[in-house]
Amino acid sequence: MSSNNSQSVRVEIRDLRKSFGSQEVLKGISFTVERGEIFVIMGPSGSGKSVLLRHIIGLNRPASGDILIEGDSVTKPGVLAQYRMAMVFQSGALLNSLNVGENVGLYLSEHRLKTPDEIKRIVADKLEIVGLKGLEDKMPSELSGGMKKRVAIARALVVEPQLILYDEPTSELDPLMTVIIGEEILRLREHTHSTSIVVTHDRDLAFGVADRMAILHEGEILFSGTPAEVKANPHPLIQKFLHAEVQFQKS
């Protein structure tokens, strides 16, 4: 799949626009993610974060604008196939008809990149990395939400990705599991040196893992910078999002 042997890639988004029907979901997004960086895109639900990720990995085509990986436009035929990319979906998106081992080794077995014995060994290694050693024979329906997400991360690792995209990796998880997933993302960067783009509305995760971050609101980037710069930004919407708290009045 890859002709590029570096461990990470540079991603540049230029004036990306996308509409579904009359609704404009992305309104001219531009930012750059440097090699090996963890870049977090944070914003409220429905702000276009997941749609943006789907464009980067080629699941959606932009109406206008461009996505460049190492300077190559992903809209050009064959460009996506030159780079090893993986995405961890919000739901995990494990194939329910396959067991954990088959799910994790699917990329290798379908592309016939390794022998069955080698695939078994690689699957066991990747499951051990995400703390799920020995669960190869379990079916996805037997796993908890957190375990499914970690299997999805193991499946992404098999690709040895230069770019790994996380779509809401901690949604539906308890705070303890959120910490584990956050640590996993940091550990994987140390382990694989890949570039990571994390989409989330989880403030703890975002500030815990980000090298740089962008705040997305209604399809537009309000601000991008380091976590400290984001915290210090006086934009009322950013401050409202960062400091939103539930306050119930007891009658």
Partner: protein
């Protein structure tokens, strides 16, 4: 509607283009063959036995009154081979297997499993559509041949044991052998091959375009079955005319 037809033609073409990969996906094809055969064989057997029986019962009473009871074998034989077995088995498979295919692929689409395949550079047509379409086009003609024979047997049993008809088994099968040719059976097999392609492509297409959660999956299943049955009946007329033209020579 025209967009759907266009998409189905494109899906059919891409599936044909993927045929050289069939050997590589043989494990998935065998899995589908087993599932389809396992789910349909008993039902096909019961259905065919009773279709043959009812045919003999209905036609028998008319033919006996006119002193032509000996012709029941040929009549049941030709009807089963050329029309009833291919059409009824195809409708059965559309309801039982086409619906399952649309539901499975539809839920994979809704729950992003197909997106996950794409991100791993795995073509959903090669991985999901090819094994299913190939399996159904292998199984349905076999099931139709089986159905034809069970239908003949059903007709024979009713003709023999029904007191009003009371035809010997030998008489029934002699007439059947005399009237039914291998071409009649081939006629049914050709039709069933075409119907299988229709069921496979329609069901997989409906699955692949599913949107909107569990309700969307339900809608896709209904559309897959209804569209398959409508297309089978339309295609049946066209193929019957086409094959009649060849029989004339």
């Amino acid at each position: 509607m025209f967009q759907n037809i266009g998409e189905m033609i494109i899906l059919f073409w891409r599936t044909l283009q993927a045929l050289p990969l069939a050997l590589r996906h043989r494990a998935k094809v065998f899995e589908q063959l087993f599932e389809i055969g396992n789910a349909s064989l008993l039902m096909a057997c019961i259905l065919s036995l009773f279709i043959g029986g009812v045919l003999a019962l209905q036609a028998g009473s008319v033919l006996v009154e006119r002193g032509m009871a000996n012709f029941i074998g040929g009549m049941v034989g030709v009807s089963m081979a050329k029309e009833l077995a291919p059409v009824m088995m195809s409708i059965l498979i559309a309801g039982r297997i086409g619906s399952a295919m649309a539901a499975e692929i539809g839920s994979m689409r809704v729950y992003q499993e197909i997106d996950a395949l794409k991100t791993m550079n795995i073509n959903p047509i090669h991985y999901l559509v090819l094994p299913r379409v190939l399996a159904i086009t292998i199984v349905l003609p076999i099931l139709v041949v089986f159905s034809i024979m069970v239908g003949w047997l059903g007709g024979a049993l009713v003709s023999h044991f029904n007191a009003h008809i009371n035809l010997s088994l030998e008489g029934y099968f002699n007439n059947l052998r005399e009237i039914v040719s291998i071409g009649d059976v081939l006629n049914g097999v050709i039709k069933s091959f075409a119907f299988a392609l229709v069921i496979g492509v329609v069901a997989c297409h409906q699955g692949l375009i599913t949107i909107g959660g569990p309700r969307g999956i339900g809608r896709s299943v209904t559309k897959a079955v209804v569209n398959s049955i409508v297309l089978i009946l339309l295609l049946d007329y066209v193929l019957t005319r086409f094959l009649m033209y060849f029989e004339a020579f």
